[in-house]
Symmetry: C2
Subunit: 147 residues, 2 copies
């Protein structure tokens, strides 16, 4: 059983978003933003649907969370995302001074840890590998179907 309001609990919510992306034929990545134990933004990758490379789950989640909060900094927020952010998303999370970032699967090919290791704000707490197997298997299934 997953404990309520744990990192696993919120990653499950991000995973639900990733499943919605999968069903639309989008690379299955989902994200949620949490503040004070509540989800304030949900998003999934929509690059194909919107014909827009900037429509990654994290980017939409950052914009939505800032809209809701009425300010552009997310220092008191945690972003949960099913895949390690890319350089673009890490850069955005850095500008937003995001308090904590939790990701599921690693992305050795396009992940920020390889391409932009210092893009995050120095105070950001980073946790990787939460529900890694599920998040990773969903990605693998998506690309297997497309080969």
């Amino acid at each position: 059983m997953i404990e309520p309001f744990s990192d696993e609990y919120f990653m499950k919510k991000a995973f639900s978003e990733a499943l919605q992306a999968f069903e639309k034929g989008e690379v299955p990545v989902g994200a949620v933003v949490v503040a004070n134990g509540k989800i304030i933004a949900r998003a999934h990758n929509l690059t194909e649907t919107l014909n827009d490379v900037t429509a990654h789950a994290e980017m939409q989640a950052i914009t939505a969370a800032a809209n809701l909060l009425g300010g552009k900094y997310l220092g008191d927020c945690t972003l949960y995302v099913t895949l390690e952010p890319c350089a673009m998303c890490a850069g955005a999370l850095g500008w937003a001074q995001t308090g904590k970032i939790v990701y599921g699967a690693s992305d050795p090919k396009r992940g920020f840890r390889k391409f932009a290791p210092k893009a995050l704000h120095p105070k950001t707490e980073l946790i990787g590998g939460v529900l890694e197997t599920e998040c990773s298997e969903l990605m693998q299934e998506f690309f297997r179907e497309r080969r």
Copy 2:
């Protein structure tokens, strides 16, 4: 005199966008996207106006250009921007496989060449320092006024 349709010519157009940002109290960065010698997108930084860290000039220009072209890749396009892109924007320009990028002033503090040197697509042509003095002085004037 600036030759029509040269890099300097289009950078002047990006500079006009940067001036619009300046007048709104935004960090003065402007961008245009050019395809077949025509400007297909114009944008300037709107992070304060929109309360959104993702609203950099380049990000908006990429989205607008892709909307106009009906496809998310900008391989046949040149993006002109008055300031060296940050890691976020370089990541987005990389995903879009942008054909050519021309920037004005360097950004040693937040520029992608320091934070995400491999974020661009390997085939992207990169030119820096076009109208560097004007672009750089506009930034300096903005921050001087705020001190």
